[in-house]
């Protein structure tokens, strides 16, 4: 408790008490030493004084003893005991009091005990007639305690002055310290408020740790000011940069408090509150990354969300025009494709029916001719069926939550014999992941990609197939270690009727693209010598 009380005291009081304790301790030790030395000197002086007193007054005492002048003798013993070194003095004859410095206690003619006389220093005076007078002197018992008591007033006065001096000194020192600490404290407040001009850079006479701290703080404040100015400048710069985009950039905290929003051209249609509500309602922030289209007031916007620490960084761009272009492009491409396909169809059909045309004019048809006619019809049938399959890919009535891994396993089962026959080394990494898609269509995708991989890998080749989920999206990857797809054909490989195989229909990958597109997915190709990877992406389910 004493410790707690001491620590709660102001600095000046603590210092004063500390000084006082130190000074008092030293004074006590010094005083005791001096008192011991003084005591020794006093004892020696006292003995010398007593001896001299007797020797110098012996004749006077004898005269008055002989004259029986007790009053004169009393005045003598009274005078010598009236000092600090002698407490009592007496003259006695045959143990009877003649004169005593304490007459009330030891009356004239009263008897004294030998024991009492032996306590003092005795000096004999022979006065004749068998009488001996004895001068007995009792020394003042000097010890350190009595010395202290006798000087108690001086000690108290000196102590008071010392205490006052200590307190004044402590106040002075603590004031010097506190003044500087106050400056430091004020500077900290000023820095917190950003009032840089009010920083006190006063110089102090002291060059101690506190002044060093103060100077360091001032330097730090200047650095902070400089850094803050730089940050402000950068903030303005990046704000101007972000505001120059035709893009809305918003930064939300995890509680959707707006941290930043740039100046943007979308402000008329979309604002931060709308975006905030949209994200919350559609639970977009459940994933670290998300890309969503928003339709509002006849316009289409693309919302891109990224999570960074506790913040959501949202960009919103107006893709209405892009969508229009996409639509136009799609129409144009479709028309172009139609033209291409028409040309291809015509060409193929022409090739298929050319033997029939030759046989129309013949008068006698033999068995061989009938077989040729049959083959041509069969080829035409197969061709038309393939085309019909491409034209209208199979769909379930409703898209459903489909386990990709399960779908892949089903297709691999169907192809197990072919895989075995080709000596293909198959590596599977199938994680259970779900997407709301057409499950049969998905199997067609897998089938086509695996068949292509088998063709590309060749005998004893290696195929890898994996399904996994990353964030919002689920992935299907099919890899082969074939010779790869030449760069120059990588852009056209997905187009209908494009094929590098001799008997290929050229519709497999086109069908895959069609189905993926129908299910709002994406397909990508990466290919190099020795490795080709097809990656199909769908929006996943949790």
């Amino acid at each position: 408790m004493i410790k707690r009380w001491f620590f709660s005291l102001p600095i000046s009081t603590k210092l004063a008490l500390s000084f006082l304790v130190v000074i008092f301790s030293f004074a006590l030790i010094g005083g005791a030493t001096i008192a011991m030395i003084t005591n020794k000197n006093i004892t020696q002086t006292t003995d010398r004084f007593i001896r001299l007193t007797y020797e110098n007054n012996r004749e006077y005492l004898l005269k008055n003893l002989l004259e029986d002048n007790k009053w004169a003798l009393f005045k003598f013993v009274d005078s010598i005991s009236d000092n600090e070194i002698i407490s009592e003095a007496l003259l006695s004859i045959n143990d009877k009091v003649v004169a005593h410095s304490h007459p009330a206690q030891y009356r004239v003619n009263s008897l004294l005990s030998r024991q009492y006389l032996q306590q003092g220093q005795n000096f004999t005076i022979d006065i004749g007639s068998d009488k001996t007078a004895v001068l007995t002197i009792f020394k003042n018992p000097h010890n350190i305690y009595s010395q202290v008591l006798s000087n108690i007033k001086s000690i108290v006065i000196i102590f008071i002055f010392m205490a006052l001096g200590s307190w004044l000194f402590a106040v002075f020192i603590s004031r010097r310290i506190l003044d500087r600490l106050k400056v430091a404290s004020n500077n900290i407040d000023v820095i917190k408020k950003g009032e840089w001009a009010k920083i006190d850079t006063k110089e102090f006479k002291e060059k101690d740790e506190i002044t060093v701290l103060l100077n360091s703080m001032n330097t730090m404040a200047q650095d902070i000011k400089s850094n803050i100015e730089k940050i402000e400048h950068l903030k303005d710069f990046y704000h101007n940069v972000l505001s120059s985009f035709e893009l809305m950039v918003i930064v939300f905290k995890s509680d959707f408090k707006t941290v930043y929003c740039n100046k943007n051209t979308l402000a008329g249609t979309i604002n931060t509150d709308f975006i905030k509500d949209f994200c919350i309602q559609n639970k977009i922030t459940e994933y670290e990354k998300e890309m969503v289209e928003i339709k509002k007031e006849g316009k289409t916007f693309l919302l891109n969300l990224n999570t960074f620490k506790d913040n959501f960084i949202v960009t919103v761009s107006d893709i209405t025009e892009l969508k229009e272009l996409e639509k136009k492009y799609s129409t144009t491409k479709s028309l172009a494709m139609l033209g291409e396909m028409s040309g291809f169809l015509s060409h193929e059909l022409k090739n298929i029916i050319s033997p029939l045309k030759l046989l129309i004019g013949a008068k006698n048809l033999d068995q061989y001719d009938i077989e040729v006619m049959g083959r041509s019809i069969k080829n035409m049938d197969a061709f038309i069926n393939n085309f019909l399959t491409f034209a209208k890919p199979p769909q379930n009535e409703n898209a459903q939550q489909t386990n990709l891994a399960q779908g892949v396993e089903a297709v691999l089962f169907l192809l197990s014999t072919k895989l075995h026959q080709c000596g293909i080394s198959l590596h599977k990494q199938l994680e259970t992941c779900f997407a709301t898609i057409y499950s049969k269509a998905f199997e067609i995708i897998v089938l086509n990609l695996v068949l292509n991989a088998i063709d590309a890998a060749g005998k004893s080749g290696t195929i890898g197939i994996s399904t996994y989920q990353e964030g919002r999206y689920v992935y299907l990857e099919v890899i082969d270690n074939g010779c790869g797809v030449p760069k120059e054909v990588q852009d056209t490989i997905f187009e209908p009727f494009f094929t590098t195989k001799t008997n290929g229909s050229g519709l497999g990958l086109a069908l895959v693209v069609r189905i993926v597109d129908d299910m709002d997915g994406n397909i990508a190709l990466e290919s190099k010598e020795g490795q080709t990877r097809f990656t199909v992406v769908f929006k996943g389910e949790k």
Partner: protein
Amino acid sequence: MKLFISLLLSVNLMIAKELFFGITTVAVVKNSQTIFELTDFLSQAAKTQITPKFAKDYDEMKLMLEKKEVDFAYVCGATYVEAKDSADLEILTFPYFEGKPLYYSLVIAPKESNARSLLDFENTIYAYSDPKSNSGALVPSCKLRSMGRHYDSFFEEVIYTYDHSESIEAVLKGFVDGASVDSLVYESYKQINPTSTEKLKVIQKMGPFQTTPVVIRKDIDPQVKKRVQKAFHSLSATDKGRQILRKFGVEKFAYTNDYDY
């Protein structure tokens, strides 16, 4: 002419001559400053240098008067009677106390003492001043004698202090249980040491007695005698003089024919 000059010279010599004032220490409070104040005043008033000469007791003073070592002196009545013829003395003036040239012999004791008279001091240690002092020794001894007692056997011990003021001190210090002192000296002591005398009380007052006179040798020039007498009498006429008188416990000095020793 020669006669005139010698007469003039003798007068001048008479005026300029130093006079010695004998003071018995037993009779006055031992305060040299007060004594010198008195002699300075008298010197100024008498226009003659007056120098004090001290004697320890009356016997010594009597001898000094007989040897003409002092010209006038303050003595006790007994001494005057003894030395009147041998020293050829006459009375110059008397100290007055409470309007009369009378004083008392006081029995004093510490304030806490239960004594109510001299007779209560039997078997105690008692202080006398000078063995020939009236108030300090003779009066109490006579008193005891009148009761059929001798002082030697009455008291346990008689201590002679040879000084009234020392007798007072002896009581104050507790060395003696009581003392007989001169009332004038006691009053004087009270004036100088008021706080000390608060510790004392007067047990008994015996007297009155004719105050101790200031005596002068008859062979001193009458003019000088007159001037000295006038100087004594002028003490009560001035503030300074009255201050000095207070310190001696005396109201004034004046001459009276009505005395009896």
